[in-house]
C-alpha cells in the first residue's frame, strides 16, 4: 500500500515536478488523517482517493504538473 500511496502522491502533485511530489505527499497525508479523524478511519484511504480524483478533474496534470501542448 505504501508504494501505491507514493504513486498516488506523485501523480497528485504532478509528474515531472519535485515540488509537486512533496506537495502531493503532504496533501495526501493530511487528507487521510483528517478523514480518519472527522469521518471514519475505515474510509480514510477511500476518501483520500476521492479527493485525489476531484483534484485531477480540476487539474488534469496534478497540482504542479507541466502542461504539454500537442504539436501537430
Amino acid at each position: 500500500m505504501l508504494g501505491l500511496k507514493g504513486f498516488v502522491a506523485a501523480t497528485l502533485g504532478g509528474l515531472g515536478s519535485g515540488v509537486g511530489a512533496v506537495a502531493g505527499g503532504i496533501a495526501l497525508g493530511l487528507m487521510e488523517s483528517l478523514t480518519a479523524g472527522y469521518v471514519s478511519s475505515a474510509y480514510k484511504d477511500a476518501a483520500a482517493f476521492v479527493v485525489v480524483l476531484l483534484i485531477l478533474v480540476v487539474r488534469p496534470r496534478g497540482m504542479f504538473g507541466a502542461a504539454t501542448a500537442t504539436r501537430v
Binding site: 501505491l4 504513486f7 498516488v8 501523480t11 497528485l12 509528474l15 471514519s40 475505515a42 474510509y43 484511504d45 477511500a46 482517493f49 476521492v50 485525489v52 480524483l53 485531477l56 478533474v57 488534469p60 496534470r61 496534478g62 504538473g65 500537442t70 501537430v72
Partner: protein
C-alpha cells in the same frame, strides 16, 4: 501505457472470420462432455470468465489505448450488486444481474466522461483510485455486503430454469465466451471499430475527421464495464460465495496482464493471455500468496522479450519459418 508498438491483426473478412469461430464454438461445446470431473470444469469456467473480461478490457486498452488499473472493481461491484439484490432483497437473479449491470453502466459512463480526459499516468492513477474506493466500500459496508468475510449468493434462475451443476455452468460460460468473441470481432471491423482504433494512434487526426473522441472513449469504457459487471454477477451466482477481494487491485493487475501478455489489440490474444494466466495459479498452487509477484514477473518478461504479446510474436515467427 507501453512503449512497444503492438501488432494489430488485420481484421478478417466476414466469411473467413465465421469459420474458425464456428469450429472453436463446437470445440467448446464438446468440452464439458470431455472434462473428467468438476474440478476441471471449474478451471475451464474460470478461464472462460477471465477470457471474456479480458476481451472486454482489451477493447479499452488494446484498441482504444486507454488504461484501466481498476477494472476488477466493475467485476466485484457486479458480483455484489447481483448478490445483494438477489439475497437480501429477494430479487429474481436475472433481474438482479440486469439491474446491477445497468447501474454500474450508468456509473461507469459518468465516471468515463470525467476521467477519460486524463492522460497516461494520471488516467492510470484515477482508475486505480476507483478500484481502491470500490474495494474499501465493499469491505466496510458490512450491513449490506457482509464485510471482509464475504456473503453468499443464490443460484441463477432464468424463466424457471435453474443453472445447476458444473456442466451446465460450463456450457453457459462457453456460450458467452463465443458470443463475446463474435461481438468483439464484429466491432473491430466496423466504422465504430476503426474510430476506436484510430483514437489510439492519432486522436487529433480522428477528431478532424469527425470522430467524437470523448464520446467514443466513454462509450467503450461503459461497454467494457457493463460486460465485466455482468460476468461478475454470473460469477457470484456460480460460485455461491463472494468476498471483496474480487474487486481488489491484484485482480485488476491480473486482468491487465492477461490483455497485455496475450496481446493488446488482438481478440484471440486476450483468450490466450487469459487461459495462460488462469491456469498458472493451478500450477503454482503451492506458492500461494506469491501469485502477484509471478504475474509481475511474467508481465516484465513479456514486455522485454515479446513486446507485442504472445499471439503476434508467435504468428510472426511462424510466418518467418514458412519463408
Amino acid at each position: 501505457m507501453t512503449t512497444a508498438e503492438p501488432l494489430t491483426q488485420q481484421p478478417s473478412r466476414g466469411r473467413s472470420r465465421t469459420a474458425p469461430l464456428l469450429v472453436f464454438a463446437l470445440a467448446l461445446a464438446a468440452l464439458p462432455l470431455v472434462l473428467p470431473n468438476a474440478y476441471y470444469a471449474d478451471v475451464a469456467i474460470r478461464v472462460a470468465i477471465n477470457a471474456t473480461v479480458a476481451i472486454a478490457l482489451n477493447l479499452l486498452i488494446g484498441y482504444t489505448g486507454q488504461i484501466s488499473l481498476g477494472h476488477a472493481a466493475f467485476f466485484g461491484l457486479g458480483a455484489y450488486g447481483s448478490a445483494i439484490l438477489a439475497s437480501r432483497f429477494d430479487w429474481p437473479p436475472a433481474a438482479a444481474l440486469a439491474a446491477s449491470a445497468a447501474m454500474i453502466g450508468g456509473f461507469a459512463y459518468g465516471l468515463a466522461r470525467v476521467i477519460l480526459r486524463l492522460e497516461g499516468h494520471y488516467l492510470a492513477m484515477a482508475t486505480l483510485g476507483v478500484g481502491v474506493i470500490a474495494t474499501i466500500a465493499l469491505t466496510n459496508e458490512t450491513g449490506l455486503t457482509g464485510g471482509p468475510d464475504g456473503m453468499s449468493s443464490p443460484d441463477f434462475t432464468l424463466f424457471g430454469f435453474t443453472v445447476s451443476g458444473e456442466r451446465q455452468w460450463c456450457w453457459l460460460f462457453m456460450a458467452i465466451l463465443v458470443a463475446a468473441l463474435w461481438l468483439a470481432a464484429n466491432l473491430v471491423d466496423s466504422p465504430a471499430g476503426r474510430a476506436l482504433r484510430a483514437l489510439r494512434g492519432s486522436e487529433t487526426a480522428a477528431r478532424t475527421l469527425g470522430v467524437d473522441a470523448a464520446s467514443f472513449k466513454a462509450r467503450v469504457f461503459t461497454l467494457s464495464a457493463i460486460a465485466t459487471a455482468a460476468m461478475g454477477s454470473l460469477y457470484a451466482h456460480y460460485v455461491g460465495f463472494i468476498t471483496p477481494s474480487l474487486a481488489a487491485f491484484p485482480k485488476s493487475i491480473e486482468l491487465v496482464t492477461m490483455v497485455v501478455v496475450g496481446s493488446m489489440a488482438s481478440i484471440w490474444g486476450s483468450l490466450v493471455g487469459a487461459a495462460l494466466l488462469s491456469l498458472l495459479p493451478e500450477l503454482l498452487a503451492r506458492y500461494e500468496g506469491s501469485e502477484t509477484i509471478v504475474f509481475g514477473l511474467i508481465l516484465l518478461a513479456t514486455m522485454i522479450l515479446l513486446p507485442r504479446g504472445i499471439v503476434p510474436t508467435l504468428a510472426a515467427s511462424i510466418a518467418r519459418r514458412r519463408r
